[in-house]
């Protein structure tokens, strides 16, 4: 494992989001029209993310917790409801046209599904050439373009480039496609890469290759990477820092190793206990099931639970949890480790949760 945490300076920060909020309006029936009640999916609420040069930040959480929405907001593909996105400390809000292009030159996104994110009617060459041309990296003349394409493919380890350049997406395997998608993102020469579940659609044995490639790129090109996944184990393996989302809110964050080994928030703990663990070996019995009062049901995002959104499922829930939104509480047990849970209000002590986690 590389990337030993180094001292962070603000100059390392590439992309930063503060208080990011996204509500999707839902149109409802006649009744709502009459009551004039506007309902919305509270997909993302008050999310803060910082992406630093040369570091991978993982965003984990169950399906529908708003991870992709965060990525799309950061890529400026959705207009945001509230909050601030800063590129190199400068607040940006772009919708389209030239400012948008200028922004995406710096911040590129990779999609979850490599089978769907390449247009089946275009060749690898087309996809990459467009990425280069749009961002003015194609050079002058066809020779330079050819060279740029070559470099790009080499970067994602699709060598020899000639073998892949004129292929259609369907002629490539899943891993190769995802590499092309990454190459396309690199074509813009970005500083930040938003990878939205880049390997979840890939086969187990191929996943690793793509993840290793991303890590390698981070090191070589000093990229800031947002790695979105629901597989918390891969976050531990791949990311320097891990953020946990639940129902549109950040609930815990900190150094990956700390978050995965000493989870503080009850939700994180539930998540980690639920993950398959070969070392437990057929020992699962009814008493072994992680405690979850709602039987695994996620909450409605249209009418999210008041207070802490996890409280209906939380075994430690206190009366306060259902009324007041917990702020972040710094935890002393690791680099920048924090959790948004009332359990840490008084104590600030990691003792109890730590025991829970290492049980």
């Amino acid at each position: 494992m590389t990337a030993t945490p180094t001292a962070q300076t603000t100059s390392d920060v590439v992309l930063e989001a503060k208080g990011l909020t996204k509500h999707f309006a839902v149109r409802r029936g006649l009744r709502d029209l009459l009551t004039r009640e506007k309902s919305a999916v509270h997909a993302v609420d008050d999310v803060t993310v910082t992406l630093r040069r040369g570091r991978v930040t993982a965003l984990v959480g169950e399906s529908g917790s708003g991870k992709s929405t965060v990525a799309r907001l950061l890529a400026q593909l959705y207009p945001r409801t509230a909050g601030d996105i800063r590129l190199h400390g400068e607040s940006v809000e772009v919708k389209g046209g030239r400012p948008f292009r200028r922004y995406v030159r710096k911040v590129q996104m990779i999609f979850q599904d490599p089978f769907a994110s390449l247009n089946p009617v275009h060749t690898v060459r087309y996809h990459l050439t467009r990425a280069l041309k749009i961002h003015g990296n194609a050079g002058k003349g066809s020779a330079e373009l050819e060279k740029a394409l070559q470099t790009l493919l080499e970067r994602v380890q699709l060598v020899p480039a000639e073998r892949y350049i004129d292929k259609f997406p369907h002629e490539l395997s899943g891993g190769q496609r995802q590499r092309v998608a990454i190459a396309r993102a690199l074509g813009a020469n970005p500083e930040a890469l938003l990878a939205d579940e880049p390997v979840s659609m890939l086969d187990v044995s191929i996943r690793l290759g793509v993840l290793n490639l991303l890590r390698d790129l981070k090191d070589r090109l000093d990229l800031a990477i947002l790695y979105i996944t629901h597989d918390i184990a891969s976050a531990r393996y791949f990311a320097d820092e891990t953020l946990v989302m639940y129902a549109g809110r950040m609930v815990e964050g900190g150094d990956s190793e700390t978050v995965t080994q000493r989870p503080a928030h009850p939700y994180t703990r539930l998540l980690i206990e639920s993950a398959p663990d070969p070392d437990r070996m057929a020992a699962v019995g009814p008493d072994e099931v992680p405690q979850d009062k709602a039987g695994g049901e996620p909450p409605s995002l249209i009418k999210p639970p008041s207070g802490c959104r996890f409280h209906p499922r939380c075994v430690h829930a206190m009366p306060k949890c259902s009324t007041e939104l917990p702020p972040r509480f710094e935890l002393p047990d690791g680099e920048d480790h924090w959790a948004a849970c009332w359990l840490y209000e008084i104590t600030h002590k990691p003792a109890e949760p730590k025991q829970e986690a290492t049980r």
């Binding site: 149109r27 409802r28 029936g29 006649l30 009744r31």
Partner: protein
């Protein structure tokens, strides 16, 4: 709920648009009912009659388009479609009232039968790939590519000759008085057989194909495999699982096709001289009888709208996914 609201808005809008189109199109026609009356009689009406006829038809007054439009709506709300010129001074409403039952009976029943038969055969063809019904498809495709009217004419030539069981024209035996007695009904049925068969032959293949293709698509859904895995009887799987789901898109198609079919049977009515609404349109177009034209068009459009509404409701009943609560 939202679904219903949307549909209602859609129907209101469509009805308005259709009625407006309906109002303007005939007024763009260069000829007028008087000249076409004169044309129709080729010399039997003297040219001096022109003025008299204009007065008679009430065409001697000038009114602005807008005020005519407003009047038109006023009349519609009173259920008044104006007076037909061809059958002056019979109100359009009663002309239509006279012909509509015929079309509804012929077209309605045949379309329904065609849909049912086509769907049934389509279910079998899609379920038993490679069976004889599948082999029938090229033939039905060919039949459905033949224009209605041609098929009708050939049918008349082949089957409706002198002394044949099938009459070649009309809705019932001339001389019979329409009533609900056995003689009249059997005569009406006998007259409708040939046109009905013609419509059936040329429209059934569309349903067979649509249903067959949907069956094939549905047959590879997981829940069909599950149904088989559950050890249900073949019929239960075919009917309750596959056909039930494959039917859904066809229901919408059925409603939409009513529009096409009414248009298509216009020709059947012309060819078989069937006293329906399509024949009325044909007459009206020929004699620039725009009140009648408007009336026919309105009836066709409204019936298509109603059919759509029924299909929507049917869809609502058939597909629980559209029945969102709240």
């Amino acid at each position: 709920m939202k679904f219903l609201l949307q549909r209602i808005a859609f129907y209101a809008f469509t009805a308005w648009a259709a009625i407006t189109i309906n109002f303007f199109i005939p007024r763009m026609i260069p000829g007028d009912p008087v000249t076409s009356l004169i044309n129709r009689y080729q010399g039997q009406i003297s040219t001096e009659a022109l003025d008299s006829l204009y007065v008679l038809f009430g065409l001697d007054k000038d009114a602005s388009m807008w005020s005519q439009y407003v009047d038109y709506w006023g009349q519609l709300f009173r259920g008044d479609l104006g007076l037909s010129f061809t059958f002056f001074p019979t109100p359009v409403a009663s002309v239509l009232g006279q012909s509509l039952p015929w079309t509804v009976a012929l077209v309605g029943i045949t379309t329904f039968a065609s849909f049912m038969i086509g769907t049934f055969l389509g279910v079998l063809a899609g379920w038993r790939r490679g069976s004889w019904i599948d082999g029938l498809l090229p033939a039905t495709t060919f039949l459905s590519s033949i224009p209605y009217f041609w098929l009708g004419l050939i049918a008349i030539a082949l089957f409706a000759g002198q002394g044949s069981f099938f009459p070649s024209s009309g809705g019932y035996e001339p001389g019979l008085v329409p009533s609900w007695d056995g003689e009249f009904i059997s005569s009406a049925i006998r007259h409708s057989l040939l046109p009905a068969i013609t419509i059936l032959i040329s429209s059934v293949s569309g349903w067979i194909l649509g249903m067959r293709n949907m069956m094939i698509t549905v047959a590879s859904e997981d829940y069909i495999t599950v149904a088989h895995a559950k050890g249900l009887s073949e019929r239960r799987v075919m009917v309750g699982y596959a056909a039930r789901n494959a039917l859904l898109p066809n229901v919408a198609g059925f409603a939409l096709s009513l529009g096409f079919i009414v248009g298509g049977t216009l020709l059947v009515e012309i060819v078989f001289s069937y006293p329906g609404i399509g024949f009325n349109l044909f007459q009206a177009v020929g004699s620039k009888d725009y009140p009648l034209m408007q009336g026919v068009f309105l009836v066709i459009t409204l019936s298509v709208l109603v059919a759509n509404l029924i299909a929507d409701v049917a869809y609502l009943v058939l597909d629980p996914r559209t029945r969102k609560e709240g």
